[in-house]
């Protein structure tokens, strides 16, 4: 206690926390009950909640069974499923740590909110199908007594993917897999395409695939807030602070073949409080790395990737921030109400936004051409020339009405980009045995979050995947060099 008090410096009274977190070894959880009763009494007494000397509500607890780093959609989804799948109410304590609850940089709220089943990997399709089911029944999953139902604003208008001659065969194959998995996708010839969407110029299009159900876009903020509200009501704790350090112990072991490996176990997470030098150690059994674009850094903090290259110890988590721009434009003569989420042969995408002939879209630089440079991820400034030079020409070529348009606004966000194979990383680390990943989804993390959260929770609670087998997405693939790539049609 003394050591801790010293470390935390002056200005904070350790006694103030005493009641809430000291644990007796007896069977009854008195501490929890007392603080509960206190809270109840305080809430009925006028002005009772104000206690300037001992207010420690901003501090994380000293112990939590599970600490989730990152309160974006993936982190919250893991929290939700952990609480939902726990065997008995209150069995696990879950703490979510995020350094920015305004979500000014979080990918979740800067995304364009699309959901599709048009992937080539069965796992991705299954994740997306599970998630769409979750979203459809969101008011059953995330219902909170006395709170209004959520309005997800789902636009069920489908994705329309266009393939050139080169990509047509792959597209046909992909659609076959998608249908096998139960997605409602149809193929269209250029002529059918012209009939259905007369505003499209089909030049250079050999084949199109179009999602008839369960695809479209929704409001990511609504999903995030809904999850937050729900997990809070389920007893998940939130803490505003940055994870700066992990304290772990290591065990040297020898494999059957005589190789020496070091197994690590994190037992404390240091959370640095916002705008202060104070930090709080949180003792924990399990850490979930859901820090999105920054999860590579979190992995490094845990010592992942610090070892001789080519070994498992030396294998980094290959997730880094990549800046992506989204532009919002107005075009009075643009396509109408039926406009789907269109992805062009060039990789450019757009969708309708609201009713006032507004559209939003963009393009990944590396999808245009591999030589294209990645923009500096140091800040979230928007490069407007990128639209003029790289996005607009493709748009105007595909939809002639877009030749005259006016950009109204733009923003940038970070992809949690997996440089290895652009797919998610799910499950535990083989060496840092109590760190679990839910990251690296590189542009489709939002739509898969509900399913990924469940998969991670199953891994934590049961030790294996149950609903969807995500073993291809385990960390070990980076060491083994086994890429699980989407077969893209561009």
């Amino acid at each position: 206690m003394l050591r801790r008090a010293l470390r935390l410096g002056v200005g904070r009274c350790p006694l103030g926390r005493g009641l809430g977190t000291r644990r007796g070894g007896s069977t009854l959880d008195w501490d929890g009950k007392v603080s509960d009763i206190k809270k109840k009494i305080q809430s009925v007494l006028p002005g009772g909640a104000w206690n300037p000397l001992y207010d420690t509500s901003h501090l994380p607890p000293e112990h939590s069974d599970v600490v989730i780093v990152g309160g974006g959609v993936l982190g919250l989804s893991v929290a939700y499923w952990l609480k939902r799948l726990e065997k008995r109410r209150g069995a696990i304590q879950v703490l979510v740590v995020d350094r920015d609850y305004t979500y000014s940089h979080a990918s979740t709220v800067l995304s364009v909110g699309g959901i599709r089943q048009q992937f080539s990997l069965p796992e991705n399709i299954q994740l997306s199908l599970f998630s769409v089911d979750f979203l459809r029944n969101i008011n059953e999953y995330l219902a909170v007594v006395d709170d209004p139902p959520l309005d997800l604003q789902f636009n069920p208008l489908g994705y329309l993917l266009l393939a050139s001659e080169k990509g047509a065969a792959i597209m046909e194959n992909n659609v076959k897999v998608q249908r096998q998995e139960g997605a409602k996708v149809c193929l269209m010839s250029p002529e059918q395409l012209r009939n259905k969407f007369p505003w499209i110029n089909t030049e250079g299009v050999a084949l199109a695939s179009y999602g008839l159900e369960n695809e479209g876009w929704f409001d990511p903020w609504c999903l995030l807030q809904g999850l937050r509200r729900k997990v809070q009501s389920m007893g998940v704790r939130f803490c505003h602070g940055e994870v700066t350090r992990f304290i772990s112990s290591s065990d040297r072991m020898e494999t059957a073949s005589g190789e020496e490996v070091t197994l690590k176990r994190i037992h404390e997470v240091h959370v640095k409080m916002d705008r202060s030098l104070e930090y709080q150690p949180v003792e924990c059994a399990i850490v979930i790395n859901a820090a999105g674009a920054w999860s590579g850094q979190i992995a490094e903090l845990a010592g992942i990737g610090k070892g001789p290259p080519g070994t498992l110890q030396g294998t980094k988590l290959p997730v880094e921030p990549r800046k992506r721009y989204v532009y919002l434009w107005h075009c009075p003569q643009g396509p109408g109400l039926e406009t789907p989420f269109v992805t062009d042969t060039s990789g450019t995408y757009f969708r309708r936004e609201g009713l006032g002939n507004n559209y939003l879209g963009g393009c990944s630089p590396t999808e245009l051409s591999p030589q294209e440079e990645e923009p500096d991820p140091g800040n979230l400034e928007v490069d407007h020339d990128f639209f003029q030079d790289k996005v607009w020409p493709h748009l105007a070529q595909r939809v002639p009405a877009f030749e005259s348009l006016k950009v109204r606004s733009a923003w940038a966000g970070y992809y949690d980009y997996n440089t290895f194979d652009q797919n998610g990383v799910v499950g535990p680390h083989p060496l840092v045995v109590n760190m679990y990943f839910a990251t690296g989804f590189s542009g489709h993390g939002l739509q898969q979050a509900p399913a990924v959260g469940r998969a991670v929770a199953e891994m934590v609670l049961e030790g294996h995947f149950q609903t969807i087998n995500l073993s291809p997405f385990l960390f070990s693939r980076f060491y083994l060099g086994e890429k699980v790539e989407e077969r893209n049609i561009i």
Partner: protein, 248 residues
């Protein structure tokens, strides 16, 4: 060193509120006479509810379950008698009306009873369904989507029909000519946009949809999207309420 401790904690917290404590508590509370009954009740309450909130959560879940149950498909009927009979049975059971081709409208009486005469129409397609005010939801819609000759469908004032449901109607694109969604509280412009698949549609009623944010504009856009269809709904006055900026 702390790691095993943390694990211990995980384990110990599981036992903290073991059933033993609660049962012990209930025994002291229940009076001697009705000991058994009281114990059972308290046991039930303690097992299932932490507090009032949990009780209300439980009631909400029950409610949801009821809607789900009402929307179950009658697979055995479908297997035995085909989609038309199964669809008709579903609608009648929900309190709606159906019309087989060349037959009169059929409806259940006030007490939810209906004659099963229609089981002889196995080969006769259902051409119209009036499910006004029924508790149909996404799941239950399966029964209607199997009616491939359905020309007229009324889903007026259905509380559980939402945009997700509308996104499935493309399956009826081959036949549907008339559709009424009037008064559906959950239908918005986002779902209406999916109706572009229904190219045979001649009449569409979208009046009185509270979830549509801009009824006048939405009606214009729907009319543009379905040029061969007469669209009823939102009178123009609702369009006039727009500010000058939005109109331009």
């Amino acid at each position: 060193m702390a790691a095993p401790r943390a694990f211990l904690h995980l384990a110990s917290s599981i036992w903290k509120w073991g059933p033993r404590d609660i049962r012990g508590l209930s025994r002291t509370v229940a009076p001697e006479g009705s000991w058994r009954k009281g114990r059972a009740l308290l046991q039930f309450l303690a097992d299932h509810f932490y507090d009032v909130k949990a009780l209300r959560e439980y009631l909400f879940r029950k409610q949801v379950l009821k809607v789900h149950q009402k929307n179950r498909s009658f697979t055995h009927i479908k297997e035995q008698y085909g989609p038309y009979i199964a669809g008709a049975y579903f609608v009648l059971k929900q309190g709606g009306a159906v019309k087989f081709q060349g037959q009169e409208w059929m409806q259940s009486n006030g007490r939810g009873r209906f004659s099963l005469d229609f089981f002889k129409f196995q080969a006769v397609p259902v051409e119209a369904v009036d499910a006004s005010g029924c508790a149909i939801n996404y799941q239950g819609l399966d029964n209607l989507l199997a009616l491939k000759e359905l020309q007229s469908l009324s889903l007026q004032r259905c509380p559980h029909v939402d945009d997700w449901c509308l996104s499935r109607l493309h399956q009826l694109a081959g036949s549907l000519q008339e559709l009424s969604l009037a008064g559906c509280p959950q239908v918005s412009e986002r779902g209406l946009a999916c109706l572009h698949h229904l190219q045979k549609l001649r009449r569409l009623d979208i009046s009185d949809l509270p979830a549509v944010s801009n009824p006048g504009l939405t009606r214009i856009l729907v009319e543009e999207m379905l040029p061969n269809c007469e669209v009823l709904g939102a009178d123009w006055a609702q369009g006039l309420k727009l500010g000058p900026e939005e109109q331009s």
